[in-house]
Point group: C2
Chain length 190, copies 2
Amino acid sequence: MEHWDNPEYKNWGAKWGAMMSWIMSQQYFRENLQLGTGGETGPVNDLLRGTTERIGANIMGKRMFEQGERAWPENAPFHTAVYVLTHEKREPWSRPGGTTFYFINDGPQHALEMARESVGDRDIRIAGGADVIQQYLNMGVIDELEIALAPVLFGEGRRLFENIFRPEPQFRIDKVLDGPAATHLRYVRQ
Amino acid sequence: MEHWDNPEYKNWGAKWGAMMSWIMSQQYFRENLQLGTGGETGPVNDLLRGTTERIGANIMGKRMFEQGERAWPENAPFHTAVYVLTHEKREPWSRPGGTTFYFINDGPQHALEMARESVGDRDIRIAGGADVIQQYLNMGVIDELEIALAPVLFGEGRRLFENIFRPEPQFRIDKVLDGPAATHLRYVRQ
């Protein structure tokens, strides 16, 4: 975060771009982040749109929120309640376009309960980062994983599948989409 | 290794089976390991056969060799020279079917030189494990990566892409094959 304004630091800007290039070219993402018109409208775009449109609440970690607070447009790209796991005490923060961030200080179980109460018949997305996803994997409440795998080594990397204490194989491959810049893996619970 | 004879230890036998099931069902693999006739003959089998048949020498680590020494049939499944990186001093060991294991005590660069001398116009495969692959990735000599990615958490896991000190993105996606038990990623150097 301290090198946010210097994308040449360890070449992070170019690597971030390579890692994210698959999504920057999708029509739905461009529309949602107000990046401009046009973009790809194939199966990856359909997956992105289909998943996003059935989400009624998001849960994320403090680091992801803090990065996004700088990077997202004023019209934040969630359009749902977003529960941020943090030690910071802060009043709910409403953005134009229907996104309200709630700052949850008492752990992932409580965030999940609040999300469930607010979500109606829509789904809850654990947006990230890796440590937050791991906490919910260990709670056994994850039904689906959608992973965009890009062949980019970004620093030391953050590992998605570590600190997992559940012993059984939990997921099977549901769908794979093959793009030029990323491979899209959809796993569902067995 | 000390639980080799007890596949119920931490359920390792079932997990190993789930992780390896994609290859156990391939016709070429079954034929090569003398596991029986039949098996799948689709694009994954073609990839496996095509890669294996252009290999003129293999390089592997000590742990992979020691596991294989127990598990491979007498007619070991390489049919080439195999250079084993180890501190053990041992005479070359020839197996029926054209596999000879050479035990290399002076590091990966020397193993690569020996492989290059023996290989003619065929290719060299770095068979594994992860730490050996990392050493050759850091030497910048890897042209292709073929990864079979199965959604199985096997213990703590061994990480393929860590301890990599080369700063640039090195690989692009060349091909993805979508199987029911594994996703096959073929990356080539940019």
